[in-house]
Amino acid sequence: MDDLMLSPWEVSVAALLLVVNVVVSWWLRLGLGRQIVLSAVRMVAQLSLLGLVLKQIFALASFPPVMLLAAAMTIIAGLSSISRVENRYPSIHLTAIISVWASSWLVTAVMITAIVRPTPWYAPQIVIPLLGMVLGNSLTGISLAMDRFVSELKNRRGEVEMRLSLGATRWEATREIFAASARTAMVPILNTMSVAGIVSIPGMMTGQLLAGAPPIQAVKYQIMIMFVIAAAIAIGVMIALGISFYRVTTSDHQLKL
């Protein structure tokens, strides 16, 4: 596997490719040059830091630091899930963290206790990347769901209040919007699943193949992780929409936005 080790020199060859982006930006006057450089610098800094943290935690291989890192990743995922959500309500940050946390920890727990079964069960080189993959996907779903739900409730307020005025319960009045938001949130993972292996080789499988795993083994892992990710998104979206529903309506069947 030595030929897969990268030298700093080899990494900087890849970085040179970024120059293509800068040239295109300059040529088409996209005004993206600054942003491209900034994003690249951020990416390098963040991943280097992650590398250092992972190196330490892998070396320690003890329970508390693994949990600490997992918790930090989860909270960051929760907060970033609403960073691009324009339509908010006061406690939306808490909703995001709770739903990201509950969904991804639940499915990751199932994965490590019933499927992957590492020893020890908190083995960081297994738990951290698996959790990271689940978090990255569930935060997108949760973000889409909440944004759609709150913005639709605002845009279609007249319709919701008309239903309420006719005697609908808060659930009857918002059910359609709830369902549409859940559908929106599931679209990306459903698309990913339906083109998996045709348009691209998914990330986890790519990693395993590069690391020299047999293709069938890599495929099994990828199928497993797809199911797990889809489940995490579905659970997270339901929790996020469920909590949001109770936050934006009252027990007197009113809209509170």
């Binding site: 007249g158 005025s165 009857e172 007197d252 009113q254």
Partner: protein, 226 residues
Amino acid sequence: MNQNAIAVDVLVRASNLTRRVGETTLLDDVSIVIRSGQGWGLTGKSGSGKSSLLRAVAMLDPIDAGSVEGFGAMIHSEAVPAYRRKVAYVGQRPSMVAGSVEENLRLPFELRGYSQTFNRDAAVGLLESLGRSAALLDQDASRLSGGEQQSVSLTRTLLAEPQVLLLDEPTASLDPAATELVERVLLDWKDADGSRAWIWTSHDADQIDRVSDQVIRMQAGRLIDG
């Protein structure tokens, strides 16, 4: 009339309603009683709190203080949907769901706890008395004119057989001929059963004269006698 009869006579008793949004007080300790057969006319400048009062009586907005009693019982939580069926708020701007006019008119009958079924003949009758034809039923509700939507909205509310109407400027977007039809249909509706009542808001003093037997005025979130 004995004490008991008076108590039954009161359909809705809204007490000390107060609603604030940020620094603005929309409703300031407002109380109003709606009795059987009563036609309240509610006037006041824009922003004086007329809509806020109707919405608070319909319990559509959270209130900061006060209570609403309907048909002898305090109204809150699970009792609210059934209360709103009997005390129906009709907003200024009619709201339609995607689909045909008939689908829109069927909405109230698809809700849980509704025993009545959709009566197509009654729907056609109401639409015709509002100057619309039966052909409207099959049209796409979202493509109707504002006036047509208002007719559909009123028909939908009346089909659901409420006892009290909270009418928020129901003719504001209508021409004089359509306004006259709406007034006639609603007055007929109220006269058909002595227990029916409403609060009708309007900027038009002549209309208020025609549709109300008692007038109240609002100013800065407070009630002033007519």
